[in-house]
């Protein structure tokens, strides 16, 4: 994909990101932050894409750490958000 197409996508994604957050009640600020936090764990994909062509033990070692970090970010992030949001479940 050429750079301009990528920049187009980048700018549009920025506007979607701005628009998707509207009037969030204070109580939901922390869970929402936590969920967006989990989403940027998508950087994990970078590690997956690089490790195949990585040569040398140092690069492979660094990428395994990066993949582990990214996984912690994703898995931990979504789980912790879910636990916070459990508080809002309806009482019966």
């Amino acid at each position: 994909m050429d750079l301009l197409t990528e920049l187009t996508i980048l700018v549009l994604a920025a506007f979607v990101g701005f628009e998707v957050i509207s009037k969030v009640p204070n109580t939901l600020h922390t869970p929402l932050m936590s969920a967006t936090n989990a989403i940027h764990g998508i950087v994990l994909l970078g590690g997956l894409l690089l490790i195949g062509e990585a040569t040398g033990a140092l690069d492979e070692f660094l990428l395994v750490i990066a993949i582990a970090f990214g996984t912690i970010n994703v898995v931990g992030g979504f789980l912790v958000t879910d636990r916070m949001l459990e508080m809002f479940r309806k009482r019966d």
Binding site: A14, V20, L28, V43, E53, T55, V75
Partner: protein, 470 residues
């Protein structure tokens, strides 16, 4: 094999990415509302799973054993950490998760630089270099800044602001070093040492940037660092030509910035003020009485509605403000709506609330409030510690803890409603003016107090509308 080639078709992977973005965006949308938030989080998580699986299908991906090791380590650390953390320790956990995300970006950018040098024989293209360098700087700041934030919230590092002399100058210097080295690399200098110097300068900057910020401002800072990590992930996506990273990272970069702003606003602070200020948690409002500026926390109707609707016990402490606004009927409607949801609502009647003895009883009886829900001061005071939310409607002096604590206060010794002992106190008030007695009320500056400004009747009506929508 036909199936394998279909699955590994780059277009198929791109389609899966599109599904993943849809999940992220829809999930974030649902996260704006308490009723749908949990589902939103789940949908976003499904999107992430789709993105990961799609990437694993890509035929450039290899070394599955190493990938499995990385993911296994991450899962083994992440799940127990997220499961066992106490609710009160959530902010620092989020900081930690954000930090490792930033760390991943920094590591990936470093490896990407090394690979780019190797593959291009030392002449990587500038449009690949710029995003790599950006990701390196911002990822490193985010990693170290988040770790400091974690340390402060966990009280490993003192939570109070730590300020060095010439701090701002030092920070600017570090940024200049990082950006200077980055410019040199972008201009064609081929040096891994210079790249490491960038990572280190950004790391020190991350530390220096968060250290001077006080505990109460920390959630805003974590949110800011969260947006930073998103931006750096998007930059890494540009370098790697991966559209999922670009979109996912940028969504977080943008929504995280908006959220940071909302959080700062909720505390009556500007982001610039927090970052430069270094005296955590000081929102300024005109405290009458002694004329000294003190921090108060203001809130809005939707937030009050959520706190009330999810409480199990609410105590309403009415005062003269409710009487002037003729808000008693709306208050009863709100109480009925809450009781429908299983919330126990009682009324705390102070003998001198209002302008005449029994003023409140009369008003509330007029609004058909069940008599057994009206509690006299001596009966209700022991119940405040078990109360989730105390809703103070236009009452001031009768809730003033100065009467208990400050022997020099003119009202010292007057019996008061101990609303400050409730889990959360919400005060409906027209302005920051003092009450009838003209005495400043320390209740308003308590950590568990939030103020909803406006006419009592309008405020209660707004809260009622929000509760009905939940």
């Amino acid at each position: 094999m036909v199936t394998a080639s279909f699955l590994q078709d780059p277009d198929f992977i791109r389609v899966l990415y599109i599904v993943a973005f849809g999940c992220f965006i829809f999930g974030l949308r649902l996260l704006n509302h308490p009723r749908t938030a949990r589902r939103g989080n789940l949908i976003a998580a499904v999107g992430m799973a789709i993105a990961v699986v799609a990437t694993l299908l890509d035929d450039v991906v290899g070394d599955y054993l190493l990938i499995a090791v990385g993911i296994a380590i991450g899962t083994a650390v992440g799940i127990p950490a997220a499961r066992s953390v106490k609710m009160t320790a959530m902010p620092q956990m989020v900081a930690l998760f954000n930090g490792v995300g930033g760390g991943a970006v920094a590591l990936i950018s470093f490896v990407e630089y090394r690979e780019a040098l190797e593959h291009t024989g030392g002449n990587p293209e500038i449009e690949q270099l710029i995003p790599i360098l950006f990701a390196a700087i911002v990822g490193s700041i985010s990693f170290w800044g988040s770790n400091i934030a974690f340390g402060k919230l966990q009280e490993v590092i003192p939570g109070r602001p730590i300020q060095l002399p010439g701090q701002q100058l030092l920070n600017i210097g570090l940024l200049v070093v990082a950006v200077g080295c980055a410019t040199a690399i972008a201009a064609g200098t081929e040096s891994q040492l210079l790249f490491l110097l960038i990572l280190i300068a950004a790391a020190v900057l991350g530390n220096m940037f968060v250290l001077p910020i006080g505990g109460a401002d920390m959630p805003v800072v974590i949110s800011l660092l969260n947006a930073f990590t998103g931006l750096s992930a998007a930059a890494a996506g540009l370098a790697l030509d991966n559209v999922a990273l670009i979109v996912g990272g940028m969504l977080v970069g943008a929504s995280g910035s908006i959220l940071t702003n909302l959080m700062a606003e909720a505390m009556n602070r500007s982001i610039a003020n927090i970052v430069v200020g270094g005296f955590g948690g000081v929102a300024v409002a005109a405290g009458a009485g002694d004329g000294e500026a003190k921090p108060v926390r203001s809130t809005d109707a939707s937030d009050v509605a959520i706190q009330l609707a999810y409480a199990s016990k609410v105590v309403v402490a009415p005062g003269y403000g409710m009487a002037v606004a003729q808000a008693q009927h709306t208050v009863r409607e709100l109480a009925d709506e809450l009781e429908k949801r299983g919330v126990r609502v009682d009324y705390a009647i102070h003998p001198v609330a209002g302008r005449m003895p029994g003023h409140m009883n009369v008003l509330l009886a007029e609004a058909d409030v069940p008599y057994d829900h009206l509690k006299e001061m001596d009966e209700i005071n022991p119940e405040f510690p078990q109360t989730d939310v105390a809703l103070v409607i236009g009452a001031n002096d009768v809730t003033n803890p100065a009467a208990r604590e400050q022997s020099d206060s003119p009202i010292y010794g007057m019996p008061i409603l101990d609303v400050d002992k409730a889990g959360q106190v919400i005060v409906l008030k027209r302005s920051m003016n003092t009450g009838f007695a003209g005495i400043d009320n320390p209740l308003f500056y308590n950590e568990n107090t939030a103020l909803l400004f406006g006419d009592a009747k309008e405020s209660v009506a707004a809260v009622l509308t929000e509760v009905k929508e939940l």
